[in-house]
């Protein structure tokens, strides 16, 4: 047996079961609170109660019951709606200022040059779109990123199609007044400035100011977060684009310049040659690029509220192409492994005349600082290690040790023999190169070159600054680092290479020197003070006498 409660709605008595009553009571009190602020709110409530009575009555008749149940109350709530909605939709007093409306990103189809992206951004931030366009054009010319950014934004930001969206784009309330304004272009929103008493307007000025500062800060943080998220995805794309650009030798994609630092533009070509491997690598990187690109578009579209009808297809094809791309890259790279199986070394000896040398590395100079560089039919490889060692022979010599890998020994040997590394001796001057060259077809297969200068005891050598890039851990008595050895004259002694013109200060590290100087100064100060005291004492004694 259920308890029922009787209520009176617009003069009619209804029986509600307990559960229905609780729900109905809460709903009605919510409605009352919502309408409390309204002018003649009581009358509205009476109207609503009358309507509820009517619906209850109809449902009782239809269902042939006497008691109002939970289902009936829920039907009422569905039909009438939540009380918050009553007010929101009917609020016409106190027109909202434009800053209170939340703005949304839209592309502006009315003032577009290409896709309306810039004028949309301009409308969002209340900036003349010309500035945004200038920014994009600068980005386009300096780095090329502007182009990709534009395309991504174009795909992700919805176009403002309806009047309501065009108003939202500018952050204006969507109502009849503003719609009219949009068409008649009357722009004196501020003409109805309220004239208030001094104190009042000052207070409201301060309050408004603080309010707008806060809303600006929040908006700013929000925008920053969105930008940070987008930047991460973007960086990924840029990195992949860099690899992509380097595999295709595309100068246009060189804006990423990442490629340059890793391989040199020609790195991929130097390693992968020009056959199917390079093609597989290129297609592979292109395919892997699609996933982050699609992801960024979907992510931004979600932020900007664009409905992507085929986002599922997009993510599926993105993932699929990413996997296929990775497989292609792995196959291409994996096929290289056998090419490195065997290793061979070839050694050339060049006998040098004289006992003193002035070493420079200026025949081939590597200006770009890349590891690889393809020029005409030659592959430049900067993988030279220069060292100085002692020899028991009475004459100095230069040893060139070429090493290379190959699928089998004869292939590796052939590669090791096809080095070209020019050296010249002209009196004391011994000129080396910063890189060696191999024919383009022999590709990069682990080639390296060890250049060793063998000096008999008593021979001297001057190390020029230009050999900095090729010198590799030259041992010396003073135990100085390679970089510090430059610009000095060295002599081969029975104990090893020794500096003849280095000042002793270079043996210490600076901290020790500083400490010792400080210690000395302290000691000196103390002894001076002691001396002064003694002198003063003597003086006193003399005066006393």
């Amino acid at each position: 047996m259920n308890k029922t409660i009787n209520i009176n709605l617009a003069g009619i008595i209804f029986h509600l079961d307990e559960v229905a009553y609780e729900k109905f009571k809460t709903y009605l009190s919510n409605v009352k609170t919502a309408l409390d602020q309204e002018e003649s709110g009581e009358e509205i409530i009476a109207d609503i109660e009358a309507r509820i009575a009517e619906i209850f009555n109809l449902r009782m008749k239809e269902n042939g019951t006497q008691v109002v149940g939970l289902a009936d109350v829920e039907f009422i709530i569905d039909t009438l709606g939540q009380p918050e909605a009553f007010i929101d939709e009917s609020e016409t007093e106190a027109p909202k200022s434009s800053s209170k409306q939340t703005r949304r990103f839209f592309r502006n189809p009315d003032e577009k040059v290409i896709g309306g992206v810039c004028s949309g951004i301009g409308a969002y931030f209340d900036i003349d779109p010309v500035w945004i366009r200038v920014l994009f054009i600068i980005l386009l010319f300096f780095t090329g990123i502007g182009f990709i950014t534009y395309v991504i934004l174009w795909a992700a930001i919805p176009e403002a199609k309806t009047t309501a969206q065009k108003l939202q784009m500018r952050g204006e309330a969507v109502n009849l007044n503003n719609i009219e304004k949009l068409f008649t272009k009357v722009e004196d929103y501020t003409s109805t400035e309220k004239i208030k008493s001094g104190v009042n307007s000052f207070v409201s000025f301060v309050v408004n100011g603080i309010g707008s500062i806060f809303s600006f800060v929040f908006k700013f943080i929000g925008v920053l977060l969105a930008i940070a998220g987008a930047m991460i995805a973007f960086t990924l794309i840029v990195a992949l684009l860099g690899i992509f650009g380097s595999t295709w030798n595309l100068d246009g994609f060189n804006f990423i310049s990442l490629n340059g630092y890793i391989y040199g533009l020609d790195g991929a070509q130097a390693i992968f040659g020009s056959g199917w491997r390079l093609l597989a690598l290129r297609v592979g990187t292109l395919l892997t690029l699609l996933l982050p690109l699609f992801a960024l578009v979907v992510f931004l579209a979600k932020i900007f509220g664009r409905e992507l009808t085929n986002s599922k297809l997009l993510s599926f094809s993105g993932i699929a192409s990413f996997i296929v791309g990775l497989i292609l890259i792995f196959i291409s790279a994996g096929s290289l492994i056998t090419d490195f199986r065997e290793r061979a070394t070839e050694t050339d000896q060049i006998t040098l005349s004289g006992m003193s040398f002035d070493i420079t590395a200026d025949i081939f100079e590597n200006e770009q600082g890349f590891l690889f560089d393809v020029e005409d039919e030659l592959l430049h490889i900067e993988n030279v290690r220069f060292n100085i060692e002692a020899t028991r022979s009475s004459t100095a010599s230069l040893e060139l040790k070429h090493a290379a890998s190959g699928r089998n020994h004869s292939e590796a040997r052939a590669r090791a023999q096809s080095f070209d590394y020019p050296t010249v001796q002209d009196g004391e001057a011994l000129r080396l190169s910063e890189y060696f060259t191999v024919p383009k077809e022999s590709l990069y297969r682990g080639q390296d070159l060890k250049v060793t200068l063998r000096l008999p005891v008593g021979a001297t050598v001057y190390l020029d600054e230009s050999i900095e890039n090729i010198m590799y851990d030259i041992r010396n008595i003073q135990d100085m680092y390679d970089g510090d050895m430059l610009g000095h004259l060295w002599e081969m002694t029975p104990e090893g290479l020794s500096c003849t013109d280095c000042s002793t200060i270079q043996y210490y590290n600076t901290k020790e020197i500083e400490e010792s100087i400080e210690g000395n100064l302290d000691e000196m100060e103390e002894s001076i003070e002691r001396k002064l005291e003694e002198l003063e004492l003597e003086l006193k004694k003399l005066k006393d006498r």
Binding site: I12, E54, L58, S90, T92, L176, E180
Partner: protein, 101 residues
């Protein structure tokens, strides 16, 4: 979007004859202009308070007596005025949206 337009629609419905709240709701729901009934009652009261509407009570066999709304003189004049504005607006929209961009 509905702001203002809803008021205009209510006046328009009433210009074709008297109606009580449920009738108006049915019409507006049919045109998909409102989703929930609750929004309408504050509007009607506000229009009445602005002397654009008047109402009379009529007995109903389905429940409590119903308020039948009718346009006042002022309301009729205002409705015609709004109609003019609306048509201008409509033309403007038509013109703008039909020209190829």
């Amino acid at each position: 979007m509905r702001k203002g337009v809803l008021e205009y629609c209510i006046l328009g419905i009433l210009s074709n004859g008297d109606a009580y709240a449920s009738d108006i709701i049915e019409r507006l729901k049919g045109a998909e202009l409102i989703v929930v009934e609750g929004t309408l009652y504050p509007l009607l009261t506000r229009l009445k308070n602005a002397d654009l509407l008047e109402y009379r009570w009529e007995e109903s066999n389905a429940g409590p007596p119903r308020k039948y709304y009718t346009l006042s003189e002022q309301g009729r004049a205002f409705q015609l005025e709004l109609k003019g504005t609306w048509e201008n607006l409509n033309n403007a929209v038509e013109q703008l949206t039909s020209t190829p961009s």
